[in-house]
């Protein structure tokens, strides 16, 4: 049983680590906080794994945990409380600078990243999952709202983000 859990955990980690880290980065003020948050999510996934039932989609389950932990962590940041656990078995590459093909792209990414951080928490979570190319159906299951609802919200958030981006670029 424990080997099954280990196997499943590794599968989750391998398939989602980059996505999860980008989500953590968007919920953090700096890369150290993102690393802490990422490790907190891993620990909670490992802790919750025995309770995972196969009828639920594993990705939906993982992103529910990730987003709920990110939302909770924001609250602790606001309360100025730190409560993270460090895992030495996890290594992070140089993540201070975003990686991109050109300087122009890099600036656009930094600008988009800054705009996403300005969004309210629920909108931020929705758009992050969208940008990470999760289907609407899966996003709706993660949030517990209808698919149609997700599509309307994402359309609005995208318009908002594009306006913010343009005003940043013009400003």
């Amino acid at each position: 049983m424990e080997n099954d859990h280990k196997e499943l955990f590794l599968k989750i980690l391998e398939l989602n680590k980059e996505r999860l880290f980008r989500i953590c980065r968007s919920y953090s003020t700096d890369s150290d906080e993102a690393k802490d948050l990422f490790q907190e999510i891993l620990l909670n996934i490992w802790k919750s794994l025995p309770g995972f039932k196969n009828q639920a989609d594993i990705n939906t389950w993982v992103y529910r945990i990730a987003l709920n932990i990110c939302l909770r962590a924001r609250e602790f940041t606001e309360k100025k409380e730190k409560h993270f656990i460090k895992l030495e078995g996890i290594h992070f590459e140089n993540i201070e600078e975003p990686v991109s093909e050109s300087k122009d792209r890099e600036l656009q990414f930094i600008s988009l990243f800054a705009c996403i951080q300005k969004l309210p928490e629920d909108e931020k979570s929705l758009v992050l999952l969208y940008l990470e190319e999760l289907p609407y159906k899966e996003i709706s299951k993660i949030f517990g709202i209808t698919e149609n609802h997700v599509s309307v919200k994402i359309k609005r958030i995208k318009t908002k983000l594009l306006t913010l981006l343009n005003s940043n670029n013009n400003g």
Partner: protein, 193 residues
Amino acid sequence: MDDELERIWNSSRQKQLVSYHEPALFNELDSKLNEFEMVIKKRDRREITTASIFIPICSIAAFFTTGLTQIGLILACFSCILIIYMLIRGRRHRVENYAVPVETYLIQHKQYLIKQRALLNNVLYWYILPIAISCVLFMVGLNPEKGLKIPLVIVIPINILVYYLNKMAVKKVFDPLIEKISSAINSLNNPNL
């Protein structure tokens, strides 16, 4: 234009950001999880441990005293039990399951925060008054000639401070958080927001 955001976001995806060392990771996950659970257990037992020391001491002291001092000590025992009960009851609503949909998590967490806020708002009745009355009775009983003056001078400022700190926590931490969570829930429920 519609794909612009995705294109920009995807430009950050070229490099692997996270790697792991498998055997070390599992050993660590298990040990950190145990550590984490121990911290939670310790925190949950903190009040009970304090009470298990404080209540017998007060009870024994009450047995050897008389009058107001004895009443003060007995009242302190009951106050202690009341405080522990209120703290444990408040924690019961803490959200521990993170694998629920985000909206459900937000609703459950909001309920927990509302209960915690109520606890702080009512701190006068379950914490300050019982302890303050116990202290005043105990002190007056010890030194009846000096009356209420000295006990009140000591007890009142401390309790005003405790009351003020709790009210500040409600205003600065709980009210804004609850409002923020409420607006997130509203926004999730209403596509037009």
